[in-house]
């Protein structure tokens, strides 16, 4: 029974990248909230994450989930120095756009818009991907994210030079690397373990 694949033939799938709020449905059965063990709860780190089928599915391996969650939170939320929050979200959204994760891109495009107030530029990023012209500083961050999304990595001294020329210090450049790198992790989980859906209201 636990080897079942879940599919959603009646769902309305988003056909383009969007800042709209999407749902996400797992292809593998997550434990129910009631069935979560103590270890699995610990893996979720935040109690609220037990509501999410994505995090409950990942709780099937609680140790890696806990370490991943703490890595995620520090890279994106520890903003006392280095790259501003808006631009960490820009790196996340750009990486998701390039890897093709419509769900991840929608979430982090909204965050980038929220923190930067540049919703139209984010729409351009979602429409055009790495080719979008968003001004020097954002272009440098998107270019670096695109180079890091490549396998093998194409990130080079030229990308570091472009980021520094736009005023990023070493901490900020390191934040770009970590933010973009982290979404290569997130994208692969969300793309391979389930699918997005347009809520019926949309």
């Amino acid at each position: 029974m636990s080897e079942t694949i879940l599919t959603y033939p009646g769902h309305d799938h988003p056909a383009v990248f969007t800042q709209a709020e999407l749902d996400w449905h797992p292809w593998l059965a997550p434990p129910t909230e009631e069935d979560l063990t103590e270890r699995q709860h610990a893996g979720l780190v935040d109690k609220g994450r037990a509501k999410s089928p994505y995090f409950r599915l990942l709780a099937r391996d609680p140790d890696i989930l806990a370490a991943r969650t703490r890595t995620d939170k520090d890279i994106f939320y520890n903003a006392k120095d280095g790259l501003p929050r808006a631009e960490r979200e820009l790196a996340a959204a750009a990486t998701s756009r390039i890897n093709g994760c419509i769900f991840c891109a929608s979430v982090h495009a909204r965050f980038a818009t929220h923190y930067s107030g540049r919703g139209e530029d984010i729409d351009t990023l979602l429409a055009k991907g790495a080719q979008a012209d968003l001004g020097g500083r954002w272009n440098a961050i998107v270019d670096a994210s695109a180079a890091l999304a490549a396998t093998p990595s194409q990130f080079s001294a030229a990308h570091v030079g472009a980021l520094r020329a736009e005023g990023l210090d070493d901490d900020a450049v390191s934040d770009v690397i970590h933010g973009a790198a982290f979404f290569n992790w997130a994208n692969r989980l969300m793309l391979s373990l389930g699918e997005p859906e347009l809520p019926s209201a949309a």
Binding site: L57, D61, R70, G100, A150, S174, I177, R188, L193
Partner: protein, 224 residues
């Protein structure tokens, strides 16, 4: 090789010494540094390896590191594989088969076809849909072969991931719990290998800068 200083996997792969530029830079984000390594430990030194064996974990990781062109992390996992296997002869043969499988899978990504109908179809890009070469598949067995093919899919064409791909893993003997671990392993390495790649570039850039600094101050005395 063994020292009293605990190097994490990225330190080991990059040869980061305590007090060096990269050591200091990484210590600006100690929580990230510690939890990136905790992730590595959770995957490669797991409390419970009944669903995915240590041999399988290191074999997959060596394959994935090679696909990313990271010979240092590939070597680290080759060593892990050899240390995890019951017999050295079996381990060496397996490690060699993994190297050959990675050589056959070398390409550059991301590429692939969108699953979504509509305008994104215009962004589809062709590329290798990797199948483990037959003689190697026989050597690796159906379970590891399926995992390598899935890892290649996630590394290079994540947009093509599908429920059918998970069904293929089930048929090859991967349980639901094991697929979650396998997915985390591939996805984590996509992160760790990029952190390593990015830090290498920063170190090279910094090295050039410090060489330049030294060159401009050669007439000065050594202050320390």
């Amino acid at each position: 090789m063994t020292t009293t200083i605990v190097h994490d996997a990225v330190d080991t792969a990059l040869g980061i010494e305590p007090g060096s530029y990269l050591d200091k830079l990484r210590n600006r984000r100690p929580t990230t540094r510690e939890n990136a390594q905790a992730s590595h430990e959770a995957l490669f030194n797991p409390e419970d390896d009944s669903e995915v064996t240590r041999t399988e974990r290191h074999a997959l990781a060596a394959f994935i590191a090679r696909l990313h062109g990271d010979t240092a992390l590939a070597s680290l996992h080759r060593e892990g594989l050899l240390a995890s296997d019951s017999g050295p002869a079996t381990g060496t043969a397996l490690a060699d088969a993994i190297d050959q499988a990675a050589t056959a899978g070398a390409t550059s990504g991301p590429y692939g076809h969108y699953r979504e109908e509509g305008p994104l179809q215009g962004e589809n890009t062709p590329g290798l849909r990797y199948v483990v070469p037959t003689p190697l598949a026989a050597e690796l067995g159906p379970r590891l072969t399926a995992a390598l093919e899935h890892a290649h899919l996630l590394v290079f064409r994540p947009r093509e991931a599908s429920p059918e791909a998970l069904a293929t893993l089930h048929r090859a003997g991967w349980s639901t719990d094991a697929i979650v671990t396998l997915s985390q392993l591939v996805a984590f390495l996509a992160f760790q290998l990029r952190v390593a790649a990015g830090l290498r570039v920063l170190s090279d850039v910094q090295g050039q800068t410090s060489t330049h600094d030294k060159a401009t101050t050669t007439t000065g005395e050594n202050h320390s």
